[in-house]
């Protein structure tokens, strides 16, 4: 039986008097790709940010690789973070650095690679996302899809054991959405990573998900595979796959 890499138990989080997560529990086993599906504003991104310590839950526990992330000192948290990749919704590339510097930054700061090794790793990561030609461009010179690819390359350059994707395809056209989703799936298979992706994008979920969780108003409504989800009779869940929803999101 595969080992549990991520264990989230009974997590609550509110902002002021607005509850966002109301007792969320989930597990992810090694090399599994979990997709957390749900409408915008249902706490999906908040859950991811709680996992990496960007936000602190009001209640509950989160274990990653057996480490209680809510009760460790910052130094240990940073050691753990070196093994976690995070792709932000807007890619979060450092504006003042070129693509090369963006990718080299975590390697230079956190590891003892020689300059030659850093260059090799940067070139390899860019090659994996088919953007070798953009190595000396600035983020402002990149399109939305290219920024996502560079963000993805920066996240996987340290070959993390766990990848977290925050809305990896938001704002992209359906063709680029497909390309990015396939790229995510291929990279996961190649690097044998475990991943959690939060999205409201059906195409993305279809391509990368081994397992799906549907989150709504801070609670889990469904847990299982995508085929079961699409065949359910629940009016709320069905709404996700209604022609109106698909029309609004995919044209």
């Amino acid at each position: 039986m595969a080992r549990k890499l991520v264990e989230v138990k009974d997590v609550y989080k509110s902002f002021g008097d607005q509850p966002v997560l109301s007792g969320v529990s989930l597990d992810v086993t090694e090399t599994q790709n979990l997709v957390i599906f749900g409408k915008s504003g249902t706490g999906k991104s908040v859950l991811l940010k709680c996992m990496v310590g960007l936000l602190t839950p009001d209640k509950g526990t989160i274990f990653i690789n057996g480490i209680d992330v809510l009760n460790i000192p910052l130094k240990e948290m940073n050691e753990l973070r070196k093994n976690i990749g995070f792709l932000f919704q807007g890619a979060a590339l450092y504006d003042s650095m070129s693509v090369r510097e963006n990718l080299a930054f975590p390697l230079i700061r956190n590891f003892n690679f020689t300059p030659k090794e850093v260059t090799q790793k940067v070139e390899r990561a860019l090659d994996m996302v088919s953007l070798s030609h953009a190595i000396d461009k600035m983020p402002s010179e990149l399109s939305g899809g290219m920024r996502k690819r560079v963000g993805l390359a920066r996240s996987i350059i340290t070959e993390p054991m766990l990848m977290l994707y925050d809305e990896p395809t938001t704002g992209l056209d359906p063709i680029t959405t497909k390309e990015i989703s396939k790229l995510i799936r291929d990279l996961q298979q190649e690097l044998k990573m475990t991943s959690i992706a939060v999205t409201h994008d059906l195409i993305c979920a279809q391509i990368i998900a081994d397992r799906v969780i549907v989150l709504n108003d801070g609670i889990i409504l469904f847990e299982g595979d995508l085929d079961t989800l699409t065949s359910l009779d629940d009016p709320f869940l069905k709404n996700f796959f209604s022609p109106e929803y698909l029309e609004d999101n995919y044209g």
């Binding site: 070196k82 807007g90 979060a92 975590p106």
Partner: protein, 260 residues
């Protein structure tokens, strides 16, 4: 209604000052911890110096010229025009040079830092750094505050020179004062007790500019509105704090080096 909103504004001001104090405490807890980001500090110093060089150059010359032209009729009235170089030099070195350079620097740099860090906050670049196990506070804030603290005294020395030069120029045009006479009076009047406090307080002003801009940018609200707000409030708060601290430092200076 008005008193409520005034009270609310005063409360907000003190809230920000309190949070800024905690932010400053965090800076001092981090500033001496290795690794030292010397390259990053040097880069910021260079950028800030280049960014403000033209505007402080113009300011420097204008301070000297305007001060001379404004004071000349009064000095003539009292038959004291011979003391004009003394007055201009002391005014520039003790007060006008440091304070005006700091205010110009605040307008140019504090807003820039506020906008830059605010934009990084809004676009999740600061979060990305944190998730990559890199301390964004040390990398972004500490380096910028050290850079502003170090560069402002250098700019002030430069502005003082230009202001004295501007004073000579105006004096030469209006009274035909020779260079040798003007400079001999400048050298005669300037004492150690005039230079050190004047330059010394710009260290504090530089720190204020850096820490205020960084604080408001680093804690910017989400959205582009937050970036704009961080940028403009940085200028307001740093200018206000510069003037408040100037008042305090003038008292300290007079206590340490009584005016001769």
């Amino acid at each position: 209604m008005t008193s409520d909103s005034t009270f609310e504004q005063i409360r907000k001001f003190f809230d920000i000052i309190g949070a800024l104090s905690l932010f400053t405490h965090r800076f001092f807890m981090n500033v001496l911890k290795p690794p030292y980001e010397i390259k990053e500090v040097a880069k910021h110093m260079y950028e800030l110096g280049v960014k403000t060089f033209p505007i402080v150059s113009v300011t420097g010359v204008i301070i000297g010229v305007v001060l001379t032209l404004q004071s000349l009729p009064i000095m003539i009235k009292f038959g004291a025009e011979a003391f004009l170089p003394y007055m201009v030099t002391l005014s520039v070195i003790r007060e006008l040079g440091p304070v005006l350079t700091a205010l110009i620097f605040a307008g140019r740099v504090s807003s820039g830092i506020g906008a830059e860090l605010g934009s990084m906050r809004v676009t999740e670049q600061i979060d990305a750094m944190e998730v990559s196990a890199i301390d964004p506070f040390r990398f972004l804030v500490v380096t910028r505050v050290i850079a502003t603290t170090m560069i402002l005294p250098l700019l002030t020395v430069y502005v003082n020179f230009l202001a004295i030069g501007g004073g000579f120029f105006a004096s030469y045009i209006s009274m035909g004062t020779t260079y040798d006479l003007y400079m001999s009076q400048v050298i005669e009047v300037v004492k150690f007790g005039d230079i050190i406090p004047g330059i010394g307080k710009t260290v504090v002003f530089g720190f204020i500019v850096g820490i205020t801009g960084s604080f408001l940018g680093y804690n910017a609200d989400k959205g582009t509105e937050g970036v704009g707000k961080a940028s403009t409030t940085s200028v307001v708060y740093s200018s206000l704090l510069i003037l408040i601290f100037d008042m305090i430092l003038v008292q300290v200076t007079l206590w340490l080096w009584p005016a001769s």
